[in-house]
Amino acid sequence: MTALENEERTPGTGEPLVVLDKVDKWFGQLHVLRDINLTVHRGEVVVVIGPSGSGKSTLCRAINRLETIDKGTITLDGQPLPQEGKELANLRAEVGMVFQSFNLFAHKTILENVTLGPIKVRKKPKAEAEARAHELLDRVGIGHQAAKYPAQLSGGQQQRVAIARALAMEPKVMLFDEPTSALDPEMIKEVLDVMVDLAERGMTMVVVTHEMGFARTAADRVLFMADGQVVEENTPEQFFTNPQSDRAKDFLGKILKH
């Protein structure tokens, strides 16, 4: 366990870690991110919520530059995101990402999935990387399946491995893009439990999710996006019980009905 993980959690009091300043992005004619200003502090958990197509994934992917932005700046720990090449790869190593569709490396075992980054990117010795991988796999409850291939695991198990794979890089911040929306209901909880645990250990997290339970237990802030804009920003309690904008009221009305 690193020092960070043992630290007592002090929401939102850390210094700024991820800062988006006046960020705009277009996909051709489509203005997907409009003047986004967002500061995520060290140790903070920010949940991003909003209707389909509102730009949540794009926002997430912009933070580790899987998508480029057209205007504005994004900084991580005070450093602007590099354009290309080695520095960009280094930046991505500092930012963990968990995808909706898991994206575990299909031709590698669970253990190899978790050790690939530490060995190839961080240049850790194999034995050390494997020891750490076993620790992380134990922590997400997959310890005894390390020799299997991704296709042999359930969706929930695969997603927990994906979290372990991201954690193995010891990232400064973790991005989650709808990590549970491809999962059967009975598997959602096992993944959310791992995420709550992570939040409690002080990880800085940006989570796109519609899981209100998670937002209420773990989030310091909820960001509501619509049409590429941050329409509302509040504590989870305030946001869910007392939304201010019509867009948010309308959206919550729809998801609460289901």
């Binding site: 580790n64 899987l66 090449g85 080695k86 790869a89 280094n90 930046l91 991505r92 190593a93 500092e94 930012v95 963990g96 990402m97 995808f99 569709s101 994206n103 575990l104 490396f105 299909a106 031709h107 690939l116 980054g117 190839k120 990117v121 299997k148 291939y149 296709a151 042999q152 994906a162 794979r165 991201a166 890089m169």
Partner: protein
């Protein structure tokens, strides 16, 4: 079969040429095809364009024309290959042989590139994205994640390409390499009454060779299948 058996050593030598053409052009087209495929799917637009043009040009030209080009037009522009003069046992690999290898390689490279590209396209985009997300640079994404999976998906089309190439080596018979086809033609001329059995015997040997290749490819595919 008597005719073929009586000339066993000549037939064996002929298939020696055939197989050596196949192996040398197979290895070379494998190397160049991989490089071309990397250009084709890589992030540099100019290289990708250049590779696409190469594939279109070469793939749409009949093999015989490609080989004749290197055999007859090549020397006119200084590609004589006269420095090639290697003897391995009874195999004599001269400048004609070299021109054929070059022609076969140039031609097959385009097909290898396309087979590999189809394999790369078969790999889910999320795989490359996850590899980038853990901080692998482009080369690492390719080497560690995309290519191993693409190779697996490419085995069947690559096997087809190389099987076609094995049979394509017969074109070299017209251009002065005493490979299987040239030897068969020679035998059918010398033993006109046994033409049918000569044809059948040579065809059978090709069938066996192709079957060996198919078997190897099927084995490889099974071994590499994701568990």
């Amino acid at each position: 079969m008597d005719v073929v058996l009586d000339n066993a050593s000549a037939v064996a030598l002929a298939f020696g040429y055939t197989l050596s053409l196949f192996v040398v052009a197979g290895v070379l087209s494998g190397i160049f095809g991989t490089l071309l495929a990397a250009m084709r799917v890589g992030p540099v637009a100019v290289l990708s364009r250049a590779a696409a043009i190469y594939v279109t040009l070469v793939r749409n030209t009949p093999l015989l024309i490609v080989i004749i080009f290197f055999r007859f037009a090549g020397p006119k522009i200084g590609l004589t290959w006269s420095f090639v003069d290697i003897s391995i046992g009874d195999l004599n690999l001269n400048n004609l042989y070299a021109a054929c290898v070059v022609g076969l390689t140039v031609y097959t490279t385009a097909f290898v590139c396309e087979a590999l590209r189809s394999g790369v396209n078969a790999v889910d985009l999320g795989q490359a994205e996850a590899a980038r997300a853990i901080g692998l640079p482009f080369s690492g994404v390719m080497r560690e994640v995309v290519l191993p999976q693409a190779m697996r998906a490419s085995v069947p089309p690559l096997a087809s390409v190389q099987i076609a190439m094995l049979k394509n080596t017969t074109v070299c018979g017209v251009l002065g390499v005493l490979e299987a086809f040239a030897r068969m033609k020679g035998l059918t001329n010398d033993y006109a009454s046994s033409r049918t059995e000569i044809f059948v015997a040579f065809a059978l040997i090709f069938v066996v060779l192709v079957e060996v290749l198919s078997f190897a490819s099927a084995r490889l595919e099974r071994r590499w299948r994701v568990a």
